[in-house]
């Protein structure tokens, strides 16, 4: 794949100029991000509501999450936002090989995130800490574990599985977004290898970048809500 060859992008027939198209696309992307926030918003409202009625299940449930793994993933995603931003920057500087490297690192960060997530999930599934009626964890073991942090605890609330429903729904929907984001960045990476994008046309790179930053941002809210409950 040669990155030397540059392809010129012709703006679509219904725009006056490339700038006109760029401005419009960017606005479209922001509007799309608004819809994403509202979609996740439903889960956050549900979380706030149940946290208000049953604060104890969130406290107990979060003892089964490992804040170190969550923090590691936060760092990984924050770093990937930086490399994504650099990817856009190098595209604007017309340095496609550096830009592609940055995109590749971003994809790798996404992969690291998902691998860590995989270990977290399998650990919980192993213990039977599943959502709703799939929950099969041993009550005594759960109580023993929770007592390490809350020594006064005498019994586990019967609706503890609700915490895990939130855990899986929120991180699951977020994880799907991470994978979609990785796919989109990979697609940009491929196209850039074929000579697309450069200082005059970087709409796609920037759009995908905005999407990736949003994924990062949502995680920054999920991390304290699910891992750092006190």
């Amino acid at each position: 794949m040669s990155t030397a060859k540059t392809r010129t992008h012709h703006h679509a027939h219904h725009y006056e100029s490339a700038t006109h198209e760029y401005d419009t696309s960017k606005q479209g992307m922001w509007l799309f991000l608004v819809t994403e926030i509202l979609m996740f918003g439903g889960l956050f409202v549900g979380y706030a509501y149940f946290h208000h009625i049953f604060p104890e299940i969130f406290k107990i449930g979060s003892t089964f999450t490992d804040w170190r793994l969550g923090a590691a993933n936060t760092v990984v995603l924050l770093f990937s936002s930086l490399t994504m931003a650099l990817g856009i920057y190098y595209t604007q500087m017309n340095d496609r090989s550096k830009a592609r490297l940055m995109l590749l690192i971003t994809i790798l960060c996404g992969a690291v995130f998902m691998v860590i997530k995989y270990f977290e999930y399998s650990h919980k599934i192993h213990l039977g800490l599943m959502p709703g009626s799939w929950y099969t964890a041993d009550a005594q073991a759960v109580l023993e574990h929770a007592k390490e942090k809350f020594p006064g605890l005498t019994e586990i609330p019967s609706n503890l599985p609700l915490y895990f429903s939130f855990y899986y729904m929120m991180t699951g929907l977020h994880g799907i977004h991470v994978m979609i984001g990785m796919g989109l960045i990979f697609w940009i990476w491929l196209r850039m290898g074929r000579g697309w994008y450069g200082k005059d046309h970087y709409t796609g790179v920037e759009g995908v970048g905005l999407f990736w930053h949003l994924i990062d941002l949502i995680w920054i809210y999920l991390f304290p809500l699910l891992y750092l409950v006190t």
Binding site: A12, H13, H14, Y15, H20, D23, T24, S25, Q27, G28, L31, F32, V34, T35, E36, L38, M39, F40, G41, G42, L43, V45, G46, Y49, F50, F54, I57, P131, G132, S133, W134, S158, N159, P161, L162, S165, Y168, M169, L173
Partner: protein, 531 residues
């Protein structure tokens, strides 16, 4: 549609490219509008058959044509098909797609590819929804109330997944329209000069992108409840079924305005064009659309007065709901003021507009009844509610849709709709509508509950009148269908501006060329400069 084009000289969007494939891959907003036209009317036909089945079953007490289980499915499919596949995409995705770019002097919508994708989302959603019929069907009603809807029925899962996907059609169309209105207006087309149809679509789009994602997550959670039993809405697992109602109505009340605001826009166009007079209160009508969109997000609790909501919340939601009456009345009064001393042309589109004013007013005012908490306790879940929202959605949205279809048909296909057929269809729909739904107000006030398979013998008379009315509506829509086919095949050729209207779409040829205008128009005046 190709046959309509062959009679025309010159190229237009219909004969610009040929063949089924060129339609299925088209990026032209006009062709996508026509795809929605066919889709929406097809599903309207399906939903209409379900409606007639419901009314036929209710003609007599006891079993008439089907058993109670089938009946529950029939009203569910009637509601779901009509709401998600007909009324929500009806005006914006069909008439809006076709006319929004033309009315602001653009060559296309901002994102043509996304526009086509929206249509495929609707089709895919419909496929999922219909496939639910083959795995036992859904019988929850279109509102999918928990915990009944999470009792592990595969039909319900397919139905909500269908509605979820169709929702993206709505979201993406809204996104496209907002960007188009912001960025693609012709030179001189300031926001104070865009037609009122555009203001209505713009306000609708805001609701579509802000409310529909909440429906998306709600439906996703219902699907997850059925598949993984996550328990958010399941009292047996510590969840809360009322939370579902909050989520659902947070979308579905604004969705009522997704359904009615575009209709308001059509009515503004029709009233101005057929009164041959500058519209009264352009600014007031324009901003009242935005006001309705804004207030619509704070009224959802009026669906839950008897769901165990706190009294304070009930009072707040009641007052806020009544507030919607203000911008709505502003529109009505401005339309009536436009009619005052106008040279009214009572062509068939205008008949539908006047019918709208009459029916929608009844629908709106009975909405205020229902917003009154004390009265709602009595009327909640009765036929009064059924009559109310049909006066809004059928008497409002569908009347506007047919009026708009007759009005813009000459522009879309270059042919006039036969006036006699138009009038006959109006008579049957308008009269049949009142015969069907007015008795339901009485039935509801007397206490007949909605969604029940059977009723007390004393309700039989009014139910029979209602059923006869529904057949009249059925005949009316058959006449609409005949009128459309007749116009396509033998319709009188339409000039560029058969109604003498002033908005931009009438300055280009009928049907419009591929890129709408041969030369980008330069706008120097408002949209309704009649006299």
């Amino acid at each position: 549609m190709a046959h309509a084009a062959t009679h025309h000289e010159g190229t237009n969007y219909l004969n610009h490219e040929r063949g089924l494939w060129s339609w299925l891959t088209t990026l032209d907003h006009k062709r996508i509008g026509i795809l929605y036209f066919i889709t929406v009317f097809f599903f309207f036909f399906i939903g209409g058959i379900f409606a007639l089945l419901i009314r036929t079953e209710l003609f007599k007490t006891g079993v008439t044509v089907m058993g109670p289980e089938t009946y529950n499915q029939v009203f569910t499919y009637h509601g779901a098909v009509m709401v998600f596949l007909v009324i929500i995409p009806g005006i914006p995705a069909f008439l809006g797609n076709f006319f929004l770019p033309i009315q602001i002097g653009a060559k296309d919508v901002a994102f043509p590819r996304l526009n086509l994708m929206s249509w495929y989302c609707l089709i895919l959603g419909a496929v999922f929804a219909v496939s639910s019929l083959f795995v036992g069907g859904a019988d929850t009603g279109w509102t999918f109330y928990t915990p009944y809807s999470i009792s592990l029925k595969p039909g319900v899962v397919l139905m909500v997944v269908g509605a979820f996907i169709a929702g993206f059609s709505s979201i993406l169309t809204g996104l496209n329209f907002i960007a188009t209105v912001h960025k693609l207006r012709a030179p001189g087309m300031t926001m104070n000069r865009i037609p009122l149809f555009i203001w209505a679509l713009y306000s609708t789009s805001i609701i579509q992108i802000l409310a529909t994602p909440v429906l998306a997550i709600t439906l996703l959670l219902i699907a997850a409840e059925n598949i993984f039993q996550i328990g958010f809405f399941d009292p047996a697992l510590g969840g809360d079924p009322v939370l579902f109602q909050h989520f659902f109505w947070f979308y579905s009340h604004p969705a009522v305005y997704i359904m009615i605001l575009p209709a308001f826009g059509v009515i503004s166009e029709l009233i101005a064009a057929f009164s041959r007079k500058t519209i009264f209160g352009y600014t007031a009508i324009a901003y009242s659309s935005l006001a309705i969109a804004a207030v619509s997000f704070f009224v959802w609790g009026h669906h839950m007065f008897v769901s165990g909501q706190s009294e304070v919340a009930g009072v707040l939601f009641s007052v806020l709901t009544m507030l919607v009456g203000v911008p709505t009345a502003i529109k009505l009064f401005n339309w009536i003021a436009t009619l005052y001393k106008a040279s009214i042309n009572l062509a068939s589109p205008m008949l539908f507009a006047l019918g709208f004013l009459f029916l929608f007013t009844i629908g709106g005012v009975t909405g205020i009844f229902l917003a009154t908490t004390a009265l709602d306790v009595h009327l909640h879940d009765t036929y009064f509610v059924v009559a109310h929202f049909h006066y809004v959605m059928v008497g409002g949205t569908l009347m506007a849709l047919v009026g708009g279809l007759y009005y813009w048909f000459p522009k879309m296909f270059g042919r006039m709709v036969n006036e006699t057929l138009g009038r006959v269809s109006f008579f049957f729909i308008f009269a049949g509508f009142n015969v069907t739904f007015f008795p339901q107000f009485v039935l509801g006030a007397k206490g007949m509950p909605r969604r029940y398979f059977d009723y007390l013998p004393e309700f039989e008379h009014l139910n029979q009148i209602s059923t006869i009315g529904s057949y009249m509506i059925g005949i009316g829509f058959v006449v609409v269908f005949i009128a459309v086919i007749h116009a396509l095949l033998k319709g009188e050729k339409a000039g560029d501006n058969p109604w003498g209207a002033k908005t931009l779409e009438w300055t280009t040829s009928s049907p419009p060329p591929h890129e709408n205008f041969l030369k980008t128009p330069i706008v120097t005046a408002g949209p309704y400069e009649y006299r």
